[in-house]
Each structure stands twice: as C-alpha cells, then as structure tokens.
Amino acid sequence: MHYLFEPGLFSSGPVKTALLVGAIVAITSGVIGVFTVLRGQSFAGHSLADVATTGGSGAFLVGLNQFWGFLAAGIAAAALMEAIGVQRRRGRDVATGVVLGAALGAAALFLYLGTLQTATTGASFTVLFGSIFVISPDTVPALVASGVIALLVVAVLARVLLLTSVSPDLARARGVNVRLVGTAYLAALAVSVSLAAVAIGAVLSTALLIGPSATALRVTKSPARAMAASALAGLAATWIGIVLAYDSYYWPPHGHGWPVSFFVVALVLVGYLLSYVRPRKRQAPRSPHVEEGSPECSPA
C-alpha cells in the first residue's frame, strides 16, 4: 500500500530544495510567460532555450554549474536577438533557424565530450531534461535571487509592456523607449528560461513558460488575473509533479523514480486541455449595430 505523500517526503532535504526552487521557477515563468504570449514572443522563448542548452552543456563540460551556463548563454542570445531584431517569428526566421540549429549542434558536441570525460550519461540528461532533485543547495540563493530580480524587472515595466503590446506607436508617442523596454524584458525572459532549464531541463523549459500562461489567458480576462492564474497553474504543475516523481520511486521499474520533468509537462498539458473543457463565459453574440446605439445615447 502506497500513499500520495510517501513517508519521508517532507523530511527529505532534496525534496525541500526542489519544492522551493520549483516554486520560484513556476512563479517566474508563469508571470513572465503571460507577457511572452501577449507580446507574441514565444518564439523568442524557444530560441533562448535552444541557446541555453548550448550554454548549459558547455558549463557542464568545463565543470561549472549548469545554471551559469544557461544564464550566460541566454543573456548573450537575448542581446544578439535585440541587436539583429529577430524577436518575432516573422523576422528573419530562416537565419534564426540556421543559427539555432548550429547552437544545438554545439550542445551535442559538448555533451558528447562531457560524457567521454565522466563515463556517465546522467549529466547530459540533467542539461536536457533537468533534475530538480539534485540541485546543489549552494546554488539555491542564486536561483531565488535571479527569479526575484526578473520578477522585479517585469513588475516595474508592467504597464509599459502592456501599452507597448497594445500598440508600439502609442507607447512611442508617449515618450516610451520601446526598444529599451523590449531589451530589458528579453533579459528577464532569458533569466526565466534559465531557471526553468534548471528545474525541468533546457529542452522543456518553454513548456513551463508558455503552457501555464496559455491556460491562464484562456480562463481570465484581465492581465493581472492572468498573471496570478498563470503563476498558480505553474506552481500546481511543478509541486504536484515533484510529489508524483517522489512517489514514482515505488512504481515500475522499482527503485527508479520517473523524471520530474515528465510529470510537470504532462500536468501543464492536462491544465491546458482542462481550460477547453470549462467553457469560457462569452457574452451572447452581439451585432455591433444593434447594441451600440447611436453615439448620442450612451448605453447604461
């Protein structure tokens, strides 16, 4: 007989670390993801994740913590994207595709060389698919601080980011430096992707960025509520994923826990599918002419 909360779950140090890091990752990804989707920049998120893979595997090869590799490569890629303007899907997507392919190719080389050195495939799995249970406690303060800084940047820029997503010209006409704001946002996105890469792997990091926010955008109407719902959805998927992964130690094949990333990504998908089951409250179909009335008589 096994339980949902297996004995020892909450007294285990790695589990506590995983829950803490999982929370900061989920909240950062959830909040920043809403702006990513609002700004139509999910492609930028994917690109950053690809380049972060290269950084993480490079860091592993030279014996550094992967997070620093993810972060350095992500920030560098964000700066490059800003410089040549490829944040949006439509912009130069062929050139972007070629560069990203090369980045992943370099990651393949780094991981292969790294595997030769250590004679284990564990590290390449960690870079690609994450391992939230083996996070070194030394890096936890850096992870938490990075998440908090990224969230602060987005909080300070929240209104300007919304105005820019409504119309960049409108923002420019009101004296907003749209380009500077976009760069700062892209840097916060890079930090968020790096954090998610630590938790669920570089390859899967965008799942936590885009999935909960896409779900939240379907079930909420205002930006503030979307951010709250997205953070909560990400948090639920991450924490439940951690618990299930811990439990899975007792599942077949016995004595080998399933990867947390699998559970988190599966739960993100379930949440997204559920947002379709719950019908969104729509107003009755309106004809603009019948309802608006004439401009002189304002509707109540």
């Binding site: 609002l38 919304l162 409504v166 119309s167 010209d169 420019r172 107003q283 608006e292 509707p299």
Partner: protein
C-alpha cells in the same frame, strides 16, 4: 512677434509657455515641413495650423504621406525642414488599429486605463476613482456596453471607440487619429464621425484625422489638408477641393465632381 530662426528645429513648446510664439490661439502649427525618408523626399513645404475645437481632415490618396505627417506631429519622425509648434502633452493619439489577438486578456477598460498612465513605470493599483474615470470616458464615446469585453473580440468600430477613449482619458486638447475610418462598415464609419464631431463641438477638442475618403467627413470638417504628390494644400474644403487646385497639387489633370453632396476626385485623360 518672434522671427522664426533658420534651420531645422522642432521646439518643445513647454519651454515657450506651451504656446506658439506667433499665434496664441493655435494648438498646432506646421511651418514649411519637409520630410525625407530613405533618401526620398516624401513631403515638401507643408504648412497649416489648427485652432481650438477645429475639425481638420488630412485627406489624400494612399501613400501620399498622411501617416508620415501625423508621425512628424507626434515627434516620431524628425522632419528634414520646417518647424512644428505643438505642446506634445496636450496631444492624444489614436493609432490606426490594435495589434491584439482575440484571446488576449485585455478588456476595453484595461486599454482605456493604460491611457491614463501606461507610459509610467510600476504597475498601477486599482482604485474607485480610476474605475469611475475609465467608465465615464468609455460612456463619452458610447463604449460603456463592452467595458468588460476583451478588445480583441470587438469589431473594428468598437475597437476604434476604445482607442479614442484611451486617448481621451488624459484630457488632451488635440486629438490625432490615423485613418480611424479605415476598414469600417458604413454604419460604424458614420458613428465614429459623429463621436468625433461631438468631441470637437461640445468639448472643444481639436480633431486632426487622416482619411483617404473625404466624403464621410464633409458634414463635420472645418478645414481640409489635402495631401498629394508630396505637397499639401489647406483651407476650407470648398476652396481647396477644386479641379484647378487639385490639378496643381497632383501635377496632372484631375476633375472634381460633386454629386448629391458628395465629392469625387477623378483623374482626367
């Protein structure tokens, strides 16, 4: 009276007491504006002014430089010659359209609220005052009925009203609108024109809008700025829109035909 200095300057009138030095009643004045974009002369020697409560249409064919002219006034394009006198703080801007997907969680009230302080840092805290102001502004343009609808789900005419409310909430003296009638059905077109006419007549807000068709505006327009072939002619509609005047502007023969109170500009030969 102050002599306009030579050279290219776009003075910020906040330093000049918020008023153009030569005509205190003008909210906006352009003097000999020229614009070069990508090495091409797009506009030459455009001059006109706009007084309080005046309704002016910038009319001309597509690609004539109407949007460019608005962008010069907004300070988004630096002119290659001439001067613009405007207090940018008193300008409300309505862009051509929203670039928002239908499933984005931005309600009409969120967009209007951004008009108040969307350019500021930090996130605004909701308050009763703010909510009431947003709702009153939406009601001013007849958009109160869909305050809580996502803007992406609104029709073109409804979105245009929300954008007008977004510009109005900061209490501008001058409203600049870029092709507000583009892609609207006839009924919405009439309604938007009526809303704008009312703002000019009853609230004394000066309206400057661009349009490729002058006909929907004939009833409300005080003055016209007709842009063609890189040049502009301005004045009362009847004086500007004549076969002789527009032929000179276009640089080739055009006929102006008036049918049932409507104006058609037809290329000759």
């Amino acid at each position: 009276m102050q002599e306009a200095p030579n050279g290219v300057t776009v003075p910020d009138l906040r330093q000049a007491g918020g008023r153009p030095p030569t005509a205190p009643e003008d909210l906006l004045r352009l003097e000999g504006i020229g614009v070069r974009l990508g090495g091409r002369q797009v506009l030459s020697d455009v001059s006109f002014s706009l007084g309080k409560g005046e309704f002016t249409g910038i009319i001309g064919p597509n690609g004539a430089g109407k949007t460019t002219l608005l962008r010069v006034i907004l300070g988004l394009i630096e002119p290659s010659g001439g001067r613009v006198f405007v207090d940018k703080k008193s300008v409300g801007y309505v862009p051509q359209k929203l670039v928002i997907d239908p499933d984005m969680p931005l309600r009409a009230r969120d967009v209007v609220s951004l008009g108040l302080d969307g350019h500021r840092l930090g996130f605004g805290f909701p308050s009763r005052q703010r909510r009431e102001l947003v709702e009153a502004t939406l009601a001013d343009v007849g958009a109160a009925g869909y305050a809580d609808t996502r803007v992406g789900e609104l029709s073109g005419g409804e979105q245009q009203r929300v954008l007008i409310a977004h510009a109005l909430i900061s209490r501008p003296k001058l409203l600049l609108l870029d092709e507000p009638l583009a892609n609207l059905d006839l009924r919405s077109e009439q309604e938007i024109v009526a809303v704008l006419g009312k703002l000019a007549r009853e609230h004394g807000i000066s309206v400057l809008l661009s349009a490729h068709d002058m006909n929907p505006l004939l009833g409300v327009m005080d003055r016209i700025v007709y842009v063609a072939n890189g040049h502009a002619a301005s004045g009362p509609t009847d004086e500007v829109v004549t076969s002789a005047g527009l032929t000179e502007l276009y640089g080739h023969h055009v006929d102006v035909v008036r049918v049932h109170g409507r104006v058609l500009v037809v290329a000759g030969e």
